[in-house]
Amino acid sequence: MAGLETRKVSQEARTAPVAWITLFGALIGVTALIPIFPYVGGGGYVPLLVPFAAIAPLLLGPSGGIAAAVVGGVIGMFLAPAGFPMGLLDVLLTGVLPAVYTASIAHLNKNRLLSYLLGVVSAAFAVLFPFYIPGASAGFQAPPEPLYQALSAIYWLPSLVVIFSPIGTRLIPSLVASEARPRKYAGIFIILLSALWLWFNPWAKPYWYIQHYVPAAGVATLIGYSWWVPALSAVVTAISVPVLEALSRSGLPKVRDGLW
């Protein structure tokens, strides 16, 4: 038997198989063709890819979900260039970041430092970029205050409260692990809402910079998305919980750190 290798096959949860990542990546890519909301400041549309990328880490675990989002983002850019007006940069902003933020909040206890860093960077984007940094030196006018900061706070303050408090470290894991449906819905909704609010800042602000937004356009965008992000999170929660439940009953092999 020299030269033969044997491997012990385990039924324990494993990382997402390459084939699943590939197929879910293809699904994410295809959903780039379907617009769900226009850019409030003009210039493109938010594709259905965003919610599918956001739920990828819940189904495939953090690494598998982010890998699927990268694959889906690149494929989506080629299939639906109108949804990626900034090309490869939009692959990162529109395709990958929703998965990164969801993974960071859904698995807060695994890598707290990274989650804190992502949250703080997102908050800094919300507060400062682009009207204060680079600000006037790049030709940006000062926005109306305190209105602008009050509106911006919607997109970072509640999420930071979740990340830096026991809501993120204790409540979310217990809600998500619960067998009771309403609690599960609540857990997934908090994850998605916190993640998508944080995602909005690094997603939208580079666009404001490149499109050279005037303060009025910035304020209009903040108002325009303030209802949309929670609504999107609610719809995505309504989709993802039945999927997670169906997967847990399907007999398919479990994925490590997937929420099913």
Binding site: G72, A82, P85, L247
Partner: protein, 270 residues
């Protein structure tokens, strides 16, 4: 729906090494992320890159259908950009006014010539990106993409995932359509719903079986891959041997020359 999928032809663009086409994509990225202003030089630069990509579409001879699909999607995007910028841009001569509509410091009831012009510049910039991106996938076969990514030292696992996912988009469309048809037979017609009804109750009966079916097929696919030695740790050999010859050097030089011309227009050197 597979309008942006590989279409086999024998054109110079199809024969070109994929790395040259990737270089063109990265140059397009640079074109897009350059800061723009509402100036004639920026309009000319963005228009020049869009025209260059349009010329490559003609060289690739992939037909007008993909271009038509792209333009239909982009048309409303451009309309939205031009109208919003015309109303929000501050500065320029007033073309017409709906009256003073103050909105946090801006007058959004006035359409200015500079606003319209800025909308056109932004639209051309998006067009420049949108025309260049699909060229790569419609003129490069999956085997060539694998070979080129291998030459760029991209890990085989990563390039395999990208190329397979690109090939599987057709399968996703097919499954999606089959599930829609099956649900329609049960009296659940998603097409007949408005946006609110769709958001509220249309996606769960479609998305849940779709994801389950995809993962089940993924299991079969994984077994097929393993049976063909996918997990073998040795060096992978490419199906297509790609050569970087004189034609590729000329192609790369042409892409760089186009970029230099773009820069010259952008910086108003011409």
């Amino acid at each position: 729906m597979g309008v942006f999928q590989y279409s086999a032809r024998s054109t110079p663009l199809h024969r070109m090494h994929p790395i040259v086409k990737l270089a063109y994509l990265f140059l397009t990225l640079a074109v897009v992320i350059f800061p723009y202003r509402a100036t004639v030089s920026d309009l000319a630069a963005a228009g020049f890159w869009a025209l260059a990509s349009l010329a490559l579409w003609a060289v690739a001879r992939v037909g007008l259908r993909p271009l038509g699909v792209l333009m239909r999607v982009l048309a409303w995007t451009f309309a939205f950009i031009i109208v919003s910028q015309a109303l929000l841009y501050e500065g320029g001569h007033v073309i017409f006014s709906l009256g003073r509509l103050a909105f946090f410091g801006s007058d959004i009831g006035t359409v200015t010539d500079q606003g319209l012009f800025w909308g056109v510049v932004l639209s051309l910039r998006i067009l420049a990106a949108a025309l260049a991106l699909p060229l790569f996938v419609v003129t490069t076969s999956p085997a060539e993409i694998m070979g080129a990514l291998g030459q760029l030292r991209v890990p085989a696992k990563v390039s395999f995932m990208f190329v397979s996912a690109l090939s599987f988009t057709g399968l996703v469309f097919k499954l999606w359509q089959e599930i829609l048809d099956a649900q329609r037979l049960r009296g659940f017609d998603m097409d007949a719903m408005n946006a609110w009804q769709r958001a509220r109750r249309a996606y769960v009966p479609v998305v849940t079986p779709l994801i389950l079916l995809l993962f089940r097929k993924g299991n079969d696919f994984q077994i097929a891959m393993d049976a063909r030695g996918y997990a073998y740790p040795g060096r992978k050999t490419p199906l297509v041997a790609l050569r970087f010859g004189a034609q590729e050097v000329a192609g790369l030089a042409a892409a760089l020359a186009l970029f230099c011309a773009f820069l010259a227009l952008k910086m108003a050197w011409v």
